[in-house]
Every structure is written in C-alpha cells, then in structure tokens.
C-alpha cells in the first residue's frame, strides 16, 4: 500500500529571517513528485531551519509558503528523519519502529515492520534496546521507522552525517532502495551524498542564501562512488562551497 503521492510541492518565501539573522532571499524551489531534492550547504547556513519549517516544526513562521500541486495541505503528509536517530531508549527496536502507531493509538502493522527490519539486516535485533546497537544499526532502525509512517514526502536532515564513511555509503544505498519512489527533501553538507542521491541539487551558501538554478546530475540514484563523472563534480562542488565560505569568513 503506497501513499498517494501524485503531487509536487513548491516552497517560496520572499525573505526569511530567523531571529536577527537574515537567512534566505527569494527562496524558491520545488520538490517534484517522486524526486529527491538535495539542499547542499555548509553548516550554519540555515538548511536545518528551512527543513524544520517545511516539517511544520517551527511555530509562527508565516512567510514561507509550501504549496502542494493538488491543493491539499502538506501538513500530515510528511515524515521526518533527523541527524540524531531519536530512538527512544526504553523501547525495543520493533517498538521504536512502530512508535508512530502507538502515538496515534493505532494498531501497528507488525508484519510490515518485521519485513522492513529484515530487509535492513536487523531481524535478529528486534527485541534489543537501542543502546545495544551501533550507530549504523540505529540509523537503519530510524530509517525503517520513517518508512513505516508511510507518508508521501520524506524530509531528511543530514541523516547519515554521524556515520563513518563506509556505513554512510551503505546507508545511502539502503535509503535509495527503500525510499526510491517517494518525494524526498534531503539536507546534507556532503557533496558526495548530494551527487549520489539527488535528482536536483540546490547549493546553499552565502548570507543571505540566494537560490540559483539547481544542478541536475546524470544517471539514476544511488550513483556509484566509482563514477568518474561523479568524482569530478564532487571536486567542483567542494571548490564552489569552500570559495563561498572563504568569502563568508572574510
């Protein structure tokens, strides 16, 4: 049972300040249906704030308009995966995965959860508490929990940034596999991650950030790490980002 996701989302704001900090100017980008949109930028540029606004986690922000092409509200159609896995330490892996159902006082789909946990290689850990798991395993549980929410739009805030390089690449493959047909907004500071997973990549740099035409990498996700084209683009993105941040420091 797939969620109905026949819609794109356009996100617009003339200017967005958070507190005294002027973050974005002429913010305007689209999450196309079934595509992965990446926001790539250095830490502190306001990516997380933007994602949290889209996820309806920042109260009293009126000037950012997220409009769905089917004219229904976006609220309630997103699921959220943060940098921190946010597993509840008192719940087993299986109960963590079914947390959303419990919070809504609904019966969770256990067999689907078990199935997904098996797909990410955690079938022998379903009764374990999170603190027994490694960082990569915990993030896989968080990914399964996100998928179990069965929402058309998935918002991910640097979900793999705390993992080691090898685990990160594996997690990107798993995520691309399991969330391949969803509309995804992925925030990252890792050009490689954006190039592997993004259908369109917006570079966020400077203050305030100005949105320019996104980069559209070739091929299908997850793109191979050995792809020479990808490596070349990664180098050029790194150069662009580091130039921008040098200007920022000056």
């Amino acid at each position: 049972m797939k969620p109905d996701q026949n819609f794109s989302i356009s996100i617009k704001a003339d200017r967005l300040a958070f507190g005294a900090v002027f973050l974005f100017e002429h913010l305007d980008f689209t999450l196309k249906k079934n595509e992965w949109t990446c926001l790539l930028g250095p830490s502190g540029v306001g990516k997380t704030t933007l994602l949290r606004i889209v996820a309806d986690l920042v109260p009293n922000i009126k000037n950012v308009i997220a409009k769905c092409s089917d004219n229904k509200p976006l609220n309630g159609r997103t699921s959220y995966m943060a940098q921190d896995d946010l597993l509840l330490p008192w719940l087993s892996v299986l109960d963590n995965v079914l947390l959303g159902y419990k919070l809504r006082s609904k019966q969770g789909d256990r067999s689907k959860a078990l199935n997904l946990l098996q797909m990410v290689g955690l079938s022998s850990n379903i009764d374990d508490l999170p603190d027994k798991l490694s960082g990569g395993m915990r993030q896989r549980v968080a990914l399964v929990r996100t998928i179990m929410e069965n929402r058309p739009v998935v918002l991910m805030d640097e979900p793999f940034s705390s993992l080691d390089a090898i685990t990160r690449v594996r997690m990107q493959d798993i995520a691309a596999d399991l969330l391949g047909d969803r509309t995804v907004l992925l925030i990252t500071h890792d050009p490689m991650e954006a190039l592997r997973l993004g259908d369109r990549i917006h570079i966020l740099s400077g203050r305030p950030v100005k949105f320019i035409t996104p980069i559209i990498p070739e091929g299908t996700r997850p793109r191979s790490i050995t792809d020479t084209q990808l490596l070349k683009e990664q180098a050029s993105l790194l150069t662009r980002l580091s130039n921008a941040s040098t200007l920022d420091l000056g």
């Binding site: 949290r52 996820a55 309806d56 986690l57 309630g76 997103t78 699921s79 959220y80 943060a82 921190d84 946010l86 509840l88 330490p89 008192w90 947390l99 959303g100 419990k102 919070l103 809504r104 006082s105 508490l129 603190d131 929410e149």
Partner: protein, 251 residues
C-alpha cells in the same frame, strides 16, 4: 551486588567502636559497647518490634503518599502554565521553612498518633520528588518532541509515551533522595510528640538512662532505613532497566 566489601567496612567500624571503649574508658552510659547494644536489642526485642512497626508504617505510608503526590503535582505544573507561574514560587518558598519547625504545629493539629508523623514524612519527601520529576518533564529531548509532532501525536499521547518515560530517570533520583529522608520525618515527628514509635522509644530510654536500649533502637532504625532504601532502589532499577544511569549506579 558485592556484599563482602560493605560488610568488611561495617565490621571494622564495630571494632573501632570497641577499641574506643577499651582505650578511652568511656562509661557505658555515654557509649555502650557493641555487644551490650545487641544484648539490649535481644532482651527488649518485643518492645522494640512494636515501636519499630509503628515507625516503619509511618515511613512507608509517608513515602507512598509523597511518591503519589509529587509526580501528580509535577504533571500539573508542567502541563498548565498558570499553575507553574502561581504555584512554583510558593513551592520553592515553602522549602525555606525548615520542616522540623513545623513538627510541633503538625502534632498540635493532627494529634499524637501516626497521622502527624506521616504528614511530616510526606512534607519532607514531597519536594525532592516533585522537583526532580518536574525537571525531567521539562527537559525532554526536543528531538523526541519534534518526532512526535511529525507523527501526528496528540499532546496527551506525547506525554504518556514520551515525556513521562523520558522523565523517569530524573524521578528515580528524586525518589532515592526522598527514601533516604523519609525516616527523618517520622523520627522528628515522634520526638516532638508521640507515645509510640522508635523516636519515642529513644527519648524514653534516654530519660531512664537506658543508653543501650537507645542505641538498640537506633540500630534497628538504621537497619529499617537501609532495607527501605535498597528495596526502593531495586524496584527503580527493575523499572528503569533501559536507563544508562541505572547501569552507572550499579554498586
């Protein structure tokens, strides 16, 4: 739990106690030797048991009532902002009054019986439990709350499934402190005015120069306090098997 090490310390202390008596020649009405304390405890076992039961009931009932009242007030405080603004300062100020000073008033109002002692114990226990649980409820990981929000959780289900369990380790430390303090409330209440309980027995024995009985009562009181503490601690440990604090506090 390794019982050998604390037992070794205890035996050493008793030996030092005996040594002090041998070396300094203190009269037994100032410091009775350990053996005669145990002798007195056995000789007056029936009387000590009667009074110990009274004190034990006061401690346990006080602890139970305080443990029920504390978290419920903490929930109200954290849930209703007006309650927090109006009541929190009062709660803090109330702690400026030494609870011991209230003992005579409580005895005056609630009588010589157990009720005034239970009230004392509750008063002493209430604040650490309330403050600790309130703190825990206030400091829920914001990430958990974000997650619950995006999952479409209602306020009450977020409370029941996330905020309360997340606050339990803080509540547990408050309860541990409270359990250690519960005997104080009961004993002070008994000192101020009562005709039963270990506190009464100690005063009574003191007045009749039965210092060994006084020490025997003290010994039993300490034993009860220790048993109460370890029972509560074991219960909390079982309840909070998942908490990293539980593992850190492992003796």
């Amino acid at each position: 739990m390794n019982i050998l090490k604390p037992a070794f310390v205890l035996v050493t202390l008793v030996i030092i106690w005996q040594l002090i008596i041998i070396l300094s020649d203190v009269p037994p009405y100032i410091l009775p030797p350990p053996f005669s304390v145990i002798e007195a405890a056995v000789a007056h076992a029936d009387i000590i048991l009667v009074h110990a039961t009274i004190t034990f009931i006061e401690m346990v009932v006080g602890l139970v009532i305080g443990t029920l009242l504390g978290p419920s007030s903490a929930l109200v405080l954290s849930y209703y902002r007006p309650a927090r603004q109006w009541l929190m300062p009062i709660l803090v100020i109330s702690q400026a009054i030494p609870v011991f000073a209230l003992a005579p008033i409580l005895v005056l109002w609630l009588g010589y019986g157990m009720i005034s002692k239970i009230a004392m114990a509750v008063l002493i226990i209430y604040f650490p439990v309330t403050a600790a649980f309130f703190d825990g409820l206030k400091n829920t990981n914001l990430g958990y709350l974000d997650l619950a929000h995006t999952m479409g959780a209602s306020k009450s289900s977020t409370l029941a499934h996330i905020r309360v369990p997340a606050a339990l380790p803080a509540f547990a430390s408050g309860l541990r402190v409270a359990t250690a303090m519960a005997p104080i409330g009961a004993i002070v209440g008994e000192w101020v005015g009562s005709s039963e309980g270990l506190g009464y027995l100690m005063l009574h024995a003191n007045g009749r120069m039965q210092i060994d009985v006084m020490f025997a009562a003290l010994l039993i009181l300490a034993l009860m306090a220790i048993i109460l503490y370890y029972t509560v601690d074991a219960g909390l440990r079982r309840l909070l098997f998942w908490s990293p604090e539980t593992k850190l506090n492992q003796l």
